[in-house]
């Protein structure tokens, strides 16, 4: 029987709440960025809204799981993005390119269909249930302890990978020749082509890179969150919200939006705000509580809706997103 010393009821110390919530929010935000960076890259460079993007995330997790259970966890992290990237290249070369001339609607429908196919394929090979993809035991320790709460090292690892991803992508696009060519191919494909650059090849590479990033995100995050056939569906919607809020195609925008959504969701959980509480400032609190319904709905019970609320507001105020170019 365990008996803990009885700590007197500690009602949310403001400092503790602030720090813990911020930490949780930032890490979750970085995870969102990890998944959405590839999507925003593909959209920004190619104009393709890739509905199958979250499926790449799922595939990455399953490939990493397969390798981690047969060979080694770290090899899984390395191989998963490569295989998913190759799959992305294949899809771009043999599927997307064929429908490209028919316009964006066809590309969108194609990727939409692919998402379903991947989901069913995963179910076919790995079954309907979550698989046991876990980090190796030596990574399962507390990074540090804050206010008596262990902070898992792996969460920090997720954050670290995301930051590394952002820096790599950012430097690649803004500081290298390859990035210059990619941006040229996106802005003025005809001129880039006449200057001797192979534009279709560039697009293929971009799509592959985007897919590989999603694959890496899956390999890293899948070991922390459950790896199951629904993971694409679960994260897919929120990733689109990130990209829309950040501004379609803007890498920095994605980062800012991811962090915002992470922080908002995290803080919303801790705050028992309701309309009734708001109305009690003007003396209508008791009335609102007696009416109930929407008035007593606390913010924490709708924390999952916060990202969508944020998207609505951003779309109303800045239709092109926080850092979108076409404002």
């Amino acid at each position: 029987m365990h008996r803990r010393p009885r700590i007197p009821r500690a009602k949310a110390q403001p400092m503790e709440f602030l720090i813990i919530s911020a930490l949780n929010g930032v890490i979750y935000g970085l995870l969102l960025f990890m998944v959405s960076s590839g999507l925003t890259l593909i959209f920004g460079m190619m104009g393709v809204l890739n509905f199958a993007h979250a499926s790449f995330y799922m595939l990455g997790a399953y490939i990493a799981y397969t390798i981690a259970t047969t060979v080694d966890f770290w090899l899984g992290l390395l191989v998963a993005p490569i295989l998913v990237g190759l799959l992305g290249i294949f899809i771009e070369r043999y599927l997307l390119r064929r429908v490209h001339s028919h316009g964006h609607a066809h590309e969108l429908l194609l990727t939409f269909g692919l998402a379903f196919i991947f989901e069913e394929l995963i179910k076919l090979f790995y079954g309907d249930f979550p698989v046991n993809y876990a980090m190796p035991d030596y990574l399962r320790f507390a990074g540090f302890t804050i206010y008596g709460t262990d902070y898992p090292f792996y969460r920090l690892f997720i954050g670290f990978v995301a930051v590394a991803m952002f820096i790599t992508l950012y430097l690649l696009l803004s500081r290298t020749r390859a990035g210059l060519v990619v941006r040229a191919a996106e802005r003025l494909p005809a001129i880039a082509e006449s200057l001797g650059h192979n534009v279709p090849f560039v697009f293929m590479g971009v799509f592959g890179t985007g897919a590989a990033f999603a694959g890496l995100a899956g390999a890293v995050a899948g070991a922390f969150f459950p790896t199951n056939p629904n993971m694409a569906l679960e994260l897919g919607v929120i990733v689109f919200v990130v990209v829309v809020v950040g501004g379609l195609g803007s890498l920095e925008g994605s980062l800012v939006a991811s962090l915002l959504i992470g922080l908002f969701s995290s803080f919303a959980v801790g705050l028992d705000w309701s309309l009734a509480g708001l109305l009690s400032w003007v003396g209508l609190g008791d009335w609102a509580r007696s009416v109930g319904g929407v008035f007593t709905l606390t913010l924490s019970s709708i924390s999952g809706t916060v990202p969508f609320l944020l998207m609505l507001i951003v779309l109303l105020v800045r239709p092109a997103g926080l850092m979108g170019e076409r404002n």
Binding site: M1, K123, N132, Y151, F225, S300, S303
Partner: protein, 412 residues
């Protein structure tokens, strides 16, 4: 041409008053309207497998009404719209009994559709056997004569958990309730508050959150930590349970979880050591059963009975028992007669008897309180862990009073 002449021949045969052979008897048709694609496939498929298992058994022993029972699968695609569509289809196919279990929201749709259909088509009723939808309103506000529920509800699970954990000294004085924000989660929250007095605890805080939308439970864990509970009672299932327990374990927070769906396939493997020592109340635990059923089930389906499969098997077995009590002599099947027989039917299982309460058609069934332990007789998910039996509560003790909101119109 050929079909026409065959029909003609049969018509002549009937007109001449030839005795109807076994092939002409009206077969009982069972329709499973389940989530056979989409996010809840894993659970939907289990309901279908378990139902099929018992029906095969009945058919081996001569079927019903002089014909084998037919079982037809309908995919509701995990939504109420799909379920409503497929219900119409099932009626058109001449289905007598509808089965469904995954999601109380879908069960709410199906039970309403069945009720309306029966009002509009007297003499041609359909009955609904609810295999796993636990929302109280299904046997409360929405109860009707043609709906039968063969699973537990929130008060049955929570009361069992609270009593068993209190006896074991694992409950503590401070209880936290975290649940999903829909009918089931609200039922759980209410049941947790209602059991506070008998359990001798204080509900320190309650939280409702959205269903399977939250990826990161760390903020909720921070919230739980501030409230400093001994035990967290939760009705969460699927990701919402797994993520919550993992996040709690990762944060090094020492609380005891009292759960209701920890036995969902894959949970133990995914949770790993984190889930060790936590509790669950469920309608079945293989450790409490004798060898007979689990081995027979494995021989037929390829796996030991898991999650909601045993309760489904018991439900269809009870239906089979009811069918033995009615005889239509190869003629037309009367669903009303079957429903009346089902009200009185009961079966024996190794864990305890299962019967139906006539007032609201809630099944009276045993509830098992278990704890995740190392090296049990039947480890699950390919791990060393499994569910050790803490206490088996017999049906009559586990059941809750009939809800006053249930006003059932009984056929004469």
């Amino acid at each position: 041409m050929r079909g026409k002449s065959l029909g003609l021949a049969m018509g002549v045969a009937m007109a001449l008053g030839w005795p109807a052979g076994a092939g002409h008897a009206e077969a009982l048709k069972i329709g499973i309207i389940e989530s056979l694609s989409g996010a809840q496939t894993s659970t939907g498929r289990l309901f279908a497998t378990a139902a099929q298992y018992v029906v095969n058994d009945i058919n081996k022993n001569g079927g019903f009404n002089g014909a084998p029972i037919e079982i037809i699968e309908y995919d509701n695609a995990g939504g109420t719209t799909g379920a409503a569509d497929k219900f119409k289809q099932a009626v058109a196919d001449g289905v007598h009994v509808v089965l469904q279990g995954a999601s109380s929201a879908i069960a709410g749709q199906v039970t309403e559709d069945v009720r309306k259909h029966n009002i509009r088509n007297p003499g041609n009723e359909v009955m609904f056997i609810n295999l796993g939808a636990e929302a109280l309103e299904l046997t409360g506000d929405k109860c009707h004569f043609y709906h039968f529920r063969f699973t537990t509800t929130a008060p049955m699970r929570v009361n069992a958990l609270v009593n068993a954990m209190k006896k074991a000294g694992d409950l503590g004085k401070r209880v936290y309730a975290i649940n999903q924000n829909y009918s089931w989660g609200r039922d759980m929250e209410d049941a947790t508050k209602a059991a506070a007095k008998t359990g001798g605890y204080e509900v320190v805080e309650t939280v409702l959150h959205e269903v399977n939308k939250i990826q990161d439970f760390a903020p909720f864990v921070a919230k739980i930590k501030t409230a400093n509970p001994d035990t967290v009672i939760t009705g969460n299932w699927s990701n919402d349970l797994l993520l919550l327990m993992k996040a709690t374990g990762d944060a090094g927070l020492k609380v005891r979880f009292a759960t209701t769906f920890l036995d969902q396939v894959g949970n133990i493997a995914n949770g790993g050591q984190t889930v060790l020592g936590h509790y669950i109340a469920h309608p079945y635990n293989i450790e409490a059963d004798d060898k007979g059923f689990p081995e027979a089930y494995k021989a037929a389906t390829g796996h030991l009975p898991v999650y909601i499969e045993p309760q489904t098997v018991n439900a269809i077995r009870t239906l089979g028992k009811a069918l033995k009590g009615v005889d239509f002599k190869g003629g037309e099947v009367s669903v009303t007669e079957i429903a009346k027989a089902l009200e009185k039917a009961s079966i024996e299982t190794a864990i305890g008897p299962v019967s139906v309460r006539a007032e609201d058609h809630q099944a009276i069934l045993p509830v098992v309180v278990s704890k995740v332990v190392e090296n049990p007789k039947y480890p699950v998910d390919g791990t060393k862990l499994g569910f050790g039996v803490v206490e088996t509560i017999p049906g009559p003790k586990a059941i809750y009073p009939v809800q006053g909101s249930c006003k059932m119109d009984r056929p004469s």
